[in-house]
C-alpha cells in the first residue's frame, strides 16, 4: 500500500520486457510490470490481449517466454477453474505440498478462513462451484504467500457468489496483507478490489489508473463512475487507434 508507483525499488513482483509469441502471433511485446508489497494490481484487457499469458509467465508456467521476471518463492496461484484434485479430500487438496508437524493446524485455519471448516473431509465432487473456489483460495492462503496470482478467479461463478467471493477476497487481503495480481475482464471488479489497474493492449501495458477510492468500496460512491468510464473507454478503443 505504501508504494504505488511501478519502478519502486521495493517491488515484490517485477517483470521487464516480457515477450511471448505463439507461432507468428506476438501476444506480449515487451510488457513491464511492478507490484509493491501488499499492493493489489488489476490487469485488464480484452479477450486475447495476453493478460492470462502474462500471469502464467509470472507463475512460472510458461518456459517459452523471454524477458526478466522476478516473483518471490512464496507465491500462490488461483485459476478460473478450481483445479482441485478430485481424488483428494478437501483438506488434502488444501495441504498439497505442505509438510511439517503444524500442517493439519494450518490447513484447518485456512479452511476456517474461507468458511469451510466443516467440509474438510468432503470430496471436491460434493462441493458447489463457489465452495470449490473457496477451497482453491484456502489452498493458496495456506502457503502464506507474499504474492497471490489470480487468473479471473471469480469468472466462472454466478453473480451472487461472485459478490460474496469479492467480499471474502477483500477481508482476506486485509488480514494477510499479500500483494496480488488480479487478471480480470470486469472493470467493476478491478475498481472494487485493486489499488491500481493496468490495461494490457498490443502486448504492452498501455494504461495505468490509480484507484484512490475509500474502502469499503461501492459502485455508487463518488469517483467510481469516472474511473469506470475511463477504463471502459480505454478497453473499447479499437486496436490501431491511438490516444496519444
Amino acid at each position: 500500500m505504501a508504494a504505488r508507483t511501478p519502478g519502486e525499488v521495493t517491488a515484490v513482483v517485477r517483470a521487464t520486457g516480457v515477450r511471448r509469441a505463439f507461432g507468428p502471433t506476438v501476444v506480449l511485446d515487451g510488457a513491464d510490470l511492478a507490484i509493491a508489497p501488499g499492493e493489489v494490481v488489476a490487469l485488464l484487457g480484452g479477450s486475447g490481449s495476453g493478460k492470462s499469458t502474462l500471469l502464467r509467465i509470472l507463475a512460472g508456467l510458461d518456459p517459452d517466454a523471454t524477458g526478466t521476471v522476478t516473483v518471490p518463492r512464496e507465491h500462490a496461484v488461483v485459476f478460473q477453474e478450481h483445479r482441485l484434485m478430485p481424488w483428494k479430500r478437501v483438506a488434502d487438496n488444501v495441504g498439497l505440498g505442505i509438510t511439517g508437524r503444524d500442517a493439519p493446524g494450518r490447513i484447518a485455519t485456512a479452511l476456517a478462513e474461507v468458511g469451510l471448516a466443516d467440509r474438510a473431509r468432503a470430496w471436491p465432487a460434493e462441493l458447489s462451484g463457489g465452495q470449490s473456489q473457496r477451497v482453491a483460495f484456502a489452498r493458496a492462503l495456506v502457503r502464506e504467500p507474499r504474492v497471490l496470482l489470480l487468473d479471473e478467479p471469480f469468472g466462472a461463478l454466478d453473480a451472487l457468489t461472485r459478490l460474496r467471493m469479492q467480499d471474502l477476497f477483500g477481508r482476506l487481503r486485509d488480514r494477510h496483507g499479500f500483494a496480488a495480481l488480479l487478471v480480470t475482464h470486469d472493470v467493476e471488479e478491478a475498481l472494487l478490489l485493486a489499488d491500481r489497474a493496468l490495461v494490457l493492449e498490443g502486448g504492452r501495458i498501455a494504461d495505468e489508473v490509480t484507484v484512490d477510492l475509500d474502502r469499503p468500496r461501492d459502485p455508487d460512491q463518488p469517483g467510481f463512475g469516472p474511473l469506470r468510464r475511463r477504463l471502459l473507454d480505454r478497453l473499447g478503443v479499437p486496436l490501431g487507434r491511438s490516444f496519444e
Binding site: 485459476f79 484434485m85 478430485p86 483428494k88 462451484g129
Partner: protein
C-alpha cells in the same frame, strides 16, 4: 463443471432405484435356474447322453470327489502359480513400459510404435514360435500368460497417463510439487481408473492364455486335468474343469472390483452419502 453435474444426476437416479433393482436381481436368477433344471431333467430322462454332457448333479458330485481327495487343489495350485507368475512378469513390464511411454516423449517415440505393431499379432497364435524359442515346458505357459496380460495393461496405463488433465498438473506445480510428488499426488491417482480397467482386462486375458497354454504338454494344472479326462472320456471331469476356470475368472473379477471400489472412493463421493 461437468464433473459436478454428473454425480448430481446419478443421485436423483439412485433415489428411485433400490426397490426396482431388488426385483430385477431376483428376476434375473430365474432363467439360469430354469436352464439348470432343464439340463438335469434332460440328462435323467436320457435325452442327453452322459458321455456327451453329464447331469449337473453328476458334475457336482465329481467336483466334490476331486476336492475331497485333494486332486483339484493340487492342480489348481499349479494353475494359479502359472497365472500369478505370468501376470507378475507381464504386469510389471506393462507398467514400466506404459509409464515410460506415457510420461516421456523419448519413451513414447521408442516404445509405443513397436508395441502398437506387436499388438496386431494375436498372441495365442505365437504358441508354435514360443515352443521353438522356450520349449514346451513351464516357461512357455508363463510367457503366454505374460504376453496376454501385457497388452491390455500397457494400453490402459499409457492412455490413463495421457488423459490426465494438464491443468491439474499445472496446479500441482504452482503448489510447489516436484516431479516425484506430482507423480504420486496427480499422475498415479489420475491414471488409477484406467489402471484398474487394464488390470481387469489383463486378468481376463491371462486366464484365456492359461487355458490355451495348459493344453499343450502339461503334467499338472486344471488344463492337464481336463485333457487327461478327455482321453478317458470322463466328461464330468472336463465339465468340472470348465467350471473351475469360470469360477476363477469370476472370483478374480469380484476381488478386483472390490479393491477398485475402495481405491476409487472419490468417484462415488456423492453416492456414498
Amino acid at each position: 463443471m461437468t464433473a459436478l453435474a454428473n454425480p448430481a444426476a446419478t443421485t436423483t437416479a439412485t433415489a428411485a432405484r433400490p426397490a426396482r433393482r431388488r426385483r430385477l436381481r431376483w428376476q434375473r436368477a430365474v432363467s439360469p435356474i430354469a436352464i439348470l433344471i432343464l439340463w438335469e431333467a434332460l440328462s435323467r430322462g436320457g435325452v442327453l447322453p452322459s458321455d456327451k454332457l453329464p447331469a449337473p448333479s453328476t458334475v457336482l458330485r465329481t467336483g466334490w470327489r476331486l476336492t475331497a481327495d485333494g486332486t483339484l487343489a493340487a492342480h489348481l495350485a499349479e494353475s494359479l502359480t502359472r497365472a500369478a507368475a505370468g501376470l507378475l512378469i507381464g504386469g510389471v513390464a506393462a507398467l514400466v513400459l506404459g509409464a515410460t511411454a506415457g510420461l516421456l516423449r523419448l519413451g513414447d517415440d521408442a516404445i509405443d510404435p513397436p508395441v502398437q505393431m506387436a499388438r496386431m499379432l494375436p498372441h495365442l497364435a505365437l504358441v508354435p514360435l514360443l515352443i521353438i524359442w522356450v520349449g514346451i515346458g513351464e516357461s512357455m505357459k508363463i510367457t503366454l500368460v505374460a504376453l496376454g496380460a501385457f497388452f491390455p495393461l500397457y494400453f490402459n496405463v499409457y492412455a490413463g497417463i495421457r488423459d490426465i488433465d494438464e491443468r491439474l498438473v499445472e496446479a500441482a506445480r504452482t503448489c510447489g510439487l516436484g516431479t516425484w510428488a506430482r507423480l504420486r499426488h496427480v499422475i498415479l491417482p489420475g491414471a488409477l481408473p484406467s489402471l484398474f480397467l487394464g488390470l481387469r482386462l489383463a486378468i481376463g486375458a491371462a486366464w484365456l492364455s492359461l487355458v490355451v497354454g495348459e493344453q499343450t504338454n502339461t503334467q499338472n494344472g486344471i488344463g492337464f486335468l481336463m485333457m487327461e479326462a478327455r482321453e478317458f472320456s470322463q466328461t464330468d471331469v472336463v465339465v468340472v474343469g470348465l467350471f473351475v476356470y469360470a469360477a476363477l475368472g469370476l472370483l478374480s473379477d469380484l476381488l478386483l472390483r472390490a479393491s477398485e471400489r475402495k481405491a476409487l472412493q472419490w468417484r462415488r463421493g456423492l453416492r456414498a452419502k
